[in-house]
């Protein structure tokens, strides 16, 4: 992939400068994307790339997009970003939490380039952050999971112990518990966003321990395949719809829809109105969608799930509404109180009822 990509990037560059030569004053805006996995992962990166393609389609010749796949989180991503800037990038979307500090570092060196970092919390005059309130969708999936489980054991494949993942675990657990008070949640940390073999092994380990519903916060479809092989196990698509595993094991999904946001931000660059912002959108604006709930889910459960989704979208209900205690039993939210965004963004604790510790 890399060789082709470089060749493509080089030819794109050549094309770009050629166009610039005879269409002076009408340079296309160059938009870069840094991806943590391959665009064919069928999950997280796949959806970001769909957003990139939507930008290309929307603006046509007005933009030129660049992307690099499977960029390791950490220092090497700075090299990838710098390389993109040398190729003329005007705005770069860095689409994983682990690019946070590298993005800030590179942004400081190139004040004229705009940056958009997904799921982080550090901003600068030329760095915006954006994320989606995935926890709203997790609440809906948690509810379905609680209703579907017969062993009362839900398995959760978690990637890294960062607030975004912990929020998802808490939200899923709270709503599974509401649907089924006997439910137990077993969390396995795999320390990767994308490693199909490891994700499959984690799924199998959870299934061996009696889990009959799996939630995942990793990017490949491997857990879906493992669940299908095991038989009576339900799963949910993560980041992308993963429809090839419907109607069973995949009974619903969380879909990230980045396209409207990407188009809006690129438009702002074209108009010269881009400013550093912090966006955190949920189900209501459509940044997070719930995939088709399949027929493997009983009709009444499906209706409850859709009603929960609508209440979350209208703002009538917040996914973290008290009374809620922290894992150690101390009070977090009193009756009727809802969580503030600050606590959610820095969430580093489990709610009461979840067994086990969060690794540091």
């Amino acid at each position: 992939m890399k060789i082709t990509r470089r060749a493509l990037a080089a030819s794109a560059l050549a094309l770009g400068s050629a166009c610039g030569a005879f269409a002076a004053g009408h340079e296309p805006v160059t938009v870069g994307f840094i991806y943590v996995g391959p665009i064919g992962d069928g999950g997280w990166t796949y959806e970001h790339d769909k957003g990139r393609l939507a930008v290309e389609e929307h603006f046509g010749d007005g933009v030129r997009t660049l992307y690099q796949e499977s960029v390791p989180e950490g220092a090497d991503s700075e090299r990838a970003m710098t390389q993109m800037i040398r190729q003329g990038a005007d705005i770069i979307f860095t689409t994983s939490f682990g690019y946070m500090d590298p993005t800030i570092n590179v942004a400081a060196r190139f004040p004229d380039v705009k940056f958009e970092h997904a799921t982080g919390y550090k901003r600068a005059p030329n760095v915006s952050t954006y994320s989606a309130r995935f926890y709203e969708a997790r609440a809906v999936l948690g509810h379905i999971a609680g209703e579907l489980t017969e062993s009362n054991k839900i398995g959760y494949i978690a990637s890294f112990p960062i607030p975004e993942v912990i929020r998802g675990i808490n939200s899923a657990y709270i709503h599974a518990k509401k649907a089924n008070p006997d439910v137990e949640l077993s969390v396995v940390w795999v320390y990767t966003w994308f490693d199909p073999a490891k994700e499959a092994d984690a799924a199998k380990a959870l299934i061996d321990q009696g889990a009959d519903v799996l939630l995942q916060h990793t990017d490949s479809t491997a857990p879906q395949a493992a669940a299908e092989a095991a038989g009576d196990v339900y799963t949910f698509g993560q980041a992308s719809d993963m429809p090839e595993y419907a109607p069973k094991p995949r009974v619903s999904s969380i879909i990230d829809d980045w396209a409207p946001y990407y188009i809006e931000r690129v438009q702002a660059v074209i108009d010269g109105t881009w400013e550093s912002t912090d966006t955190w959108d949920g189900i209501a604006p459509g940044m997070v969608r719930i995939g088709e709930i399949s027929d493997a889910v009983p009709a009444d459960v499906k209706a409850e799930a859709l009603s929960l989704k609508n209440r979350l979208a209208s703002g009538e209900y917040h996914a973290f509404t008290g009374p809620l205690n922290r894992q150690d039993g101390s009070v977090w939210l009193a009756e009727g109180e809802t969580a503030d965004d600050g606590t959610l963004l820095g969430m580093d604790f489990y709610v009461e009822g979840i067994v086990g510790d969060i690794p540091n």
Binding site: M1, K2, I3, T4, G37, P38, I39, G40, D41, G42, E69, S70, G155, S186, V187, V188, W189, V190, Y191, T192, F194, D195, P196, A197, K198, A200, D201, A202, K204, A205, L206, D208, Q209, A211, S220, T221, A222, A225, A226, E228, A229, M242, E244, Y245, V355, G356, D357, P359, N360
Partner: protein, 307 residues
């Protein structure tokens, strides 16, 4: 009998299954390196094997043909490396790295139409009726047995008989072997092809059995771990088995312990195979250079008959 809610036999089985791709890849690379060639393209050969195996299995409906195709594809890619390094005398490290990049790209291209396609399952008899061991054997698949049989065959081949001795002689001192009338380049090409076939088979185990589906980049670094295991093993076949099961084992063990709710420091367990490798390398290489750790003396050196 269970320990912390984990059945040790099931655990052993999943450990062996999970380690099979890296065991196969490392075994192939062991033979390559014992012949004096360093092929860093393992990751590329594995992933090309993974997609070739899956595509063939899907198109023909036969997982067995899939395994065969994976081995052939791995060997074919390896022979490209062999041609470049043995005939054109290119640098082995650079060529191997290029092979990995090429393999990842080629596999992504080949896999375009196969995302989300499920391969036909590899048949395996129901052995759960056998007392005690049945639970273990029931979790296995044919590739696990193939990997163990290949390991035993390689161990015997290298240790006993003339052919293994010749291969080792080529790896230790290619000029002397050449002087004795052995044809260094064809012997190395055969070893390289064998290494590629093993890596391809390992990749096919991922795409046909363990995951089982095609996902771009699905080997996720397994080829590099296989390379490390060969060094860890001190270039000995049974050491490869130990290394592969240690690597695969720690991963599976920690995932199972977590699933069973045993409080363990995940981050330390995750890094433990790497720490052990570094430790073993330090101990083995202390003082006496690379012969002390058992590296073939001609490893990575370019051979030309005129010198």
């Amino acid at each position: 009998m269970t320990f912390a809610g984990i059945d040790p036999l099931i655990l052993l089985a999943s450990l062996m299954v999970a380690s099979t791709p890296i065991l196969l890849a490392a075994l192939g690379e062991l033979v390559v390196e014992r012949s004096g060639v360093l092929n860093l393209g393992v990751e590329g050969m594995m992933i090309v094997g993974a997609i070739s195996g899956l595509a063939t299995a899907v198109e023909t409906g036969s997982p067995w043909l899939g395994l065969g195709a994976a081995a052939l594809a791995g060997a074919a890619l390896a022979l490209v490396f062999g041609f470049l390094t043995q005939t054109l005398l290119s640098n082995q490290v650079a060529t191997g790295l290029a092979l990995t990049l090429f393999g990842l790209g080629l596999a992504a291209l080949m896999g375009q139409g196969y995302i989300g396609v499920k391969p036909p399952p590899l048949p395996w008899p129901d052995l759960s009726g056998i007392p005690v061991l049945g639970r273990l054997l029931d979790q296995f698949d044919a590739v696990v047995l193939i990997s163990l049989a290949l390991l035993a065959a390689v161990a015997v081949f290298l240790k006993r008989g003339r052919a293994g001795l010749v291969l080792r002689a080529v790896g230790e001192n290619h000029d002397a072997a050449h002087g004795l009338g052995y044809r260094v380049v064809p012997i190395r090409m055969a070893a390289i092809a064998f290494g590629g076939a093993c890596a391809g088979l390992g990749g096919a185990h991922l795409s046909l059995v363990r995951v089982p589906q095609w996902t771009e980049g699905m080997t996720a670094g397994a080829g590099w771990i296989a390379l490390a295991i060969v060094v860890f093993a001190g270039w000995r076949p049974w050491g490869v088995l130990l290394g592969a099961y240690l690597f695969g084992g720690t991963t599976v063990l920690q995932l199972n312990l977590q699933a069973a709710g045993v409080a363990i420091p995940v981050e330390y367990l995750s890094m433990s195979p790497y720490l052990i490798t570094i430790l073993v390398l330090v101990i083995m290489s202390a003082g006496r250079g690379r012969t002390a750790i058992g590296a073939p003396a001609s490893l990575g050196r370019i051979f030309h008959a005129s010198r």
